[in-house]
Each structure stands twice: as C-alpha cells, then as structure tokens.
C-alpha cells in the first residue's frame, strides 16, 4: 500500500443562506460535513455520489480553491491551510484540476497557446522560445497537433477541448490531479479516448488522481480506491475490487444496483430507494440515510454512525451492517 499523499481530517464546509436583505443568516447548506479522506501516492481514488452530495466541494477544498470551516488537509505532511504567500504558490503547482465542462472552462477570447502556456508564465517556469516549445510538447502529449495552437477554443470539439484542459493541468508537472466529472459532458465514443489519455498520463508521469464522477462504470474501470458520499458525508471507503464485489453500506449497495447493466437478460436485481435525496440544508438526524434506508432501526434516527473499519478492511458508516 502506497503512502498517503493527501490526508483530509474533519473537513467541513458550510455555505450560509441569506434569507432576505435584513435578516440574519439563519441556515447553512452543509455541503461537506465532517470528512476524513486519504489519497495515496500514485493511485486513483474514485469519489462517487449523486448530485448535491458535496463531491465537487470536497475536491475544491483539497485544491484550496475554497477554505474549509473546520478540519485540515495535509499534502505531503504539510497542512495546506496554513500555507501563505510563496509557499501557497508552490503548492498550486503540485495540485491541478480538470473541470467537467470544457466549454465554459476555457477562455473563448484566448488562443490555445496562451491558455496552455499561462500556468507556465504565471509561475515563471518558462517564457519566450522555451515557453513555445513546452506548449508544443504538451499538445503532443495530449494528442493535439502543434499547429492547432494558433486556434481559439470554439474551433475545437468537446473532446479536443477536454484535451486542452488536460494539457493546461499538466503544464506545471503536478503530483495530484483532481478531475471533476472529466468525461460526463462528452459522447460515449469520445469518453473512452479521454479516459485512456488520463490513464496513459498517469503511468507515464506517476500521477495521483482524485476522479469525481457519478458514472459508476467509469469509476469501476479506473479506480484503485473508491469513496461513496451521501449528503456531505463519506459512507463507505474501500478498495475498488472489494466495494464492487460486495458493498457494505446500504446506500452503496442501492447505488451500485441502480446502474443499468449492459446485458438485457440480466434484468438487475435493483434495490429501489424510496423518495429523493433530502436537502443538505436540513439533513436528517442521526444517520443521514435513514429516511431512505430499507434496513433502518430506531438507533439510526438518533445517532450518527462513525466511519469504522470492517473485517474486509473497508471503512463504513452504518449501525446495522
């Protein structure tokens, strides 16, 4: 097992809801509500969950695009929340992000060479002739033709734009890349190309990935570790082969069973959950999943289950299992 590259402890992020102009802040959206998470060097951690469960917020906290309200994030043993000035700038080179929507994450008024070269320029890594050489090299690495560097984003297809985003993320030779739904806005045949590129880059540069996605097939294919989130909490954290074989938490189980199978004869034994995901503004008491859980017992309503280790090495937050 590889050593930890990132270790998050007790992370919380609440967004205040302003109710009217004069009123005081009365409520919070508890996007991330007490999360411990380990990302190991050279491995891929898949983070899954439904919309609004806080997976993107968690990614942004690790990147320090946002400051948490509580908790800490250790990156190579340093607490990144304490970093300032030059140290923080250095950290920015180590962690990069690939966004979901390749249409809105590239500046439409800038040429591709400027977009890919910008991080190098900002961090003073290269300029002039050397900068151009680096940009050409990066474009080749992600499968774009160097002469395309004089074009603008609108002249590229979705898949190519995602390649541009990846080239930009790679420019500073980061150690960790956070990919937030990297392929979900692309067509199926293009998704596979981008997934392969991400995997190639990982083995070539020894990268570590946090891949955030709601696509359970994708996560199964790429991940070494999987974390399942529900309403701001991690409910299960396990090795990929263990969790896909037999998820322990009833939510993970229902989530995995809900994914349609490609075999028409294997009409899945779906566990249908009742109702919708509750609002993160007023999450249910005790275990947040108890309102939809088929296995709930009285204690689930009162007490929040801690994430605890099970016989198979997984961490699970459930009273019943």
């Amino acid at each position: 097992m590889n050593e930890a590259l990132v270790e998050a402890k007790g992370l919380k992020k609440y967004y205040p809801l302003q109710r009217g102009f004069f009123s005081r802040r009365t409520a919070f959206v508890k996007a991330v509500d007490g999360i411990d998470l380990t990302i190991r060097r050279g491995e891929i951690l898949g983070l899954v969950g439904e919309s609004g469960c806080g997976k993107s917020t968690l990614g942004r906290l690790i990147l320090r695009l946002e400051d948490p309200d509580a908790g800490e994030v250790q990156f190579e043993g340093r607490n990144i929340l304490r970093l300032e000035g030059e140290d923080l700038r250095k950290l920015r080179r180590e962690i990069q992000i690939i966004f979901q929507d390749p249409y809105s994450s590239l500046n439409p008024r800038r040429r591709i060479d400027a977009i890919i070269g910008e991080p190098l320029l900002i961090h003073g890594v290269a300029k002039g002739k050397e900068l151009e050489e680096r940009v050409v090299e990066l474009m080749k690495v992600v499968g774009l033709r160097p002469e395309q560097r004089f074009l603008y984003p609108h002249q590229f297809s979705g898949g190519q734009r995602q390649r541009i985003g990846i080239a930009r993320a790679l420019a500073l030779q980061p150690k960790l890349i956070i990919a937030d739904e990297p392929v979900s806005s692309l067509d199926v045949s293009i998704q596979a190309q981008i997934v392969n590129l991400l995997l190639d880059l990982q083995s070539e540069y020894g990268l570590t990935y946090l891949i955030i996605s709601h696509d359970l097939n994708l996560i199964e294919y790429v991940s070494d570790w999987v974390a399942v989130m529900y309403l701001g909490k991690i409910v299960e954290y396990a090795k990929q082969e263990i969790i896909y074989e037999k998820p322990i938490h009833p939510y993970s189980e229902a989530l995995f069973s809900a994914t349609p199978s490609l075999n028409p004869l294997e009409k899945s034994k779906r566990i249908l959950l009742e109702g919708d995901v509750p609002s993160p503004i007023n999450p249910p008491s005790g275990c947040r999943f108890h309102t939809r859980c088929p296995l709930r017992v009285p204690i689930c309503e009162r007490e929040e289950p801690p994430l605890s280790e099970r016989a198979n090495g997984s961490l699970v937050a459930c009273h019943v299992r």
């Binding site: 439904e50 919309s51 297809s157 898949g159 190519q160 067509d187 199926v188 045949s189 293009i190 998704q191 596979a192 190309q193 997934v195 392969n196 995997l199 190639d200 083995s203 709601h214 359970l216 097939n217 994708l218 199964e220 294919y221 790429v222 991940s223 990929q240 082969e241 896909y244 229902a254 989530l255 069973s257 809900a258 994914t259 349609p260 199978s261 490609l262 075999n263 028409p264 004869l265 009409k267 899945s268 779906r270 249908l272 959950l273 919708d276 995901v277």
Partner: protein, 324 residues
Amino acid sequence: MRNTLLEIKNLKTYFFTRKGVVKAVDGVDLRIQEGETVGLVGESGCGKTVTALSIMRLIPEPMGRIVEGSILFDGLDLAQATETQMQKIRGNRISMVFQEPMTSLNPVFKVGFQIAEAIKLHQGGSNKEAWERAIEMLRMVGIPSPESRVNDYPHQMSGGMRQRVMIAMALSCHPRLMIADEPTTALDVTIQAQILELIQRLKEQVGSSILLITHNLGVVAEVAQHVGVMYAGHIVEYGDVITLFRNPKHPYTIGLFQSIPQKRRTKKRDRLQTIPGTVPDLLGLPIGCKFQDRCTQVFKKCREEPPQLIEIESDHQVRCWLYE
C-alpha cells in the same frame, strides 16, 4: 407478430441553413409494434431527437422540413397530415416526455392545472373532472399525497418528481405511443432507476408503445425490446435487443459497446477500445458510408457507394458492406 403501430419509411428531415443543407435525418426506417418499447440510441447530433420531433411534426419550419418519406400511424401519414389533424394527435394519441423536466413545465402554473389542461382539451369534461383526473394521474405515477401536490408549482418539486409529472401528463389521455427523449439523463442513478421502473409499470397498465431515445445503452438493455442504433442521420443497425446486444455487427455499434467501461481493468496498462475520430459534420458528409472515416475495417466499396440496411438474421438488420 403484433400489429404495427407506427411505421417510418425513408424519412428525411433537412435543415436549410445559411451554411448549407444539414441532413439531420437522412433516410430513417423504423417500425414500432403495439405495446412494445423501442430504444433509439446514438451520440449527440445523430438525429435521434429530430426523428422524434418529425413524428410529432414539431420541426421548426421553415428552416427545417420533412423533405421525403412517410410516417404511418394508424393509417394516417403524419408527414402529410394537416396541422388540425396533428393537434388532435399530439398529447392525445402520441405524447412526448422531454429530457429537461425543469424547462418543459410552465413555471407559472400549478402542475395540476397543466395536467388538467391536456385532459380537458382532448377529452372534454368539466374543470372539476379534469382536476380529479389530474390527482388520479399523480397518484398513478407515485407522487406521495397527490391531493396536496396537485397545487404545487414546478419549482416546489425535485427533478425526479417533475419528471413524474411530465409522465403523468403524457399518459393522461392514454396515448397509443409515448415518445420519451432522454427521460432520465438529467436525473441521478437512484432516481433514474425509479423512473425506469415507473415507465415499465405504466406501459403495462396503459398499454402504450414507447419510443425511448437515449445515449445510454444500459437504459436500453433494461427496458426495450427492439433497438435502433443511429449514426449521422440514419439507422445503422436495428434488431431485437437480446440479439443485438449479444452480437452487435456494425463496426460503429461494436465500437460503442467496447468504449463503455465495464469491469475493472485487470492490468495497469489495460485501456478501453476507442472509436477513432469524432462525429462527422453533417454539412460535409462523405460519399458512401458515413462511418468510413472512423471505421477500422473500411475498404474501397465503402468510399464509393452508401450501404443499405440489410437483414443478416431474423429480426436483425445492418447497414454495412461487410455483410453484403
């Protein structure tokens, strides 16, 4: 063999733009039998939605137009039908559920009013009767306490609930055919599972046929009996869902299946199979087979002549020169 409910023959719907003629649908043949679900799959821009809008005659004219072909529904050719005839069919005998449940409901009316409106228009009756029917429909699609929910505005409901309302509205007049265009794409997987289950159950209850448009092959496997795979404006493979999923023949279909991650890669260096290139620009399609530039098995004939849809085994057709 069941009766044919809808038969599309050589449908061509073109858009006349300033840059040229976009052949969004270019020779689609499709048959839907009574009581069955047909899945139509393909990537963005392949013409699946335009096919659906052609059936409903909702193509924005004069930019777009059905230029050729017929859509036979219950003895009437919808491609030739007048607007008055279509108004009697739309929402009544053929109804449609759209992808985005937020934008397809009117935000300023109560959901009950929107369902009742369709019922009154097509089936008559008093306001009160229509309102009662609306409550009944909401109950049928599994909305809890429908008596009070009927007074909700769309923004007071979650995405899954809104999609249920859309389905309630679509089924309120017991249509013969329901067209569902990406009905679960905007929803989370656990909610998607609920909606698919609901569509299945209601199909049996109401006895409608369903044309399900999606890019998700898993959804098709789950609910459809027949499946058509579209590429660049026409169907490249069509068949019974079990046969086609077990034994896909067209290089594009094969490529689609291979590019979906299924099991974990066993070795670190395992990669997904991909289809090279991108979906072609509909303004400049090549002569011959439209898939030629991305096909790994392309040969001379593919570049010269467009292949026809041919039957390679019972209930399984492919448009590819490899099987000629």
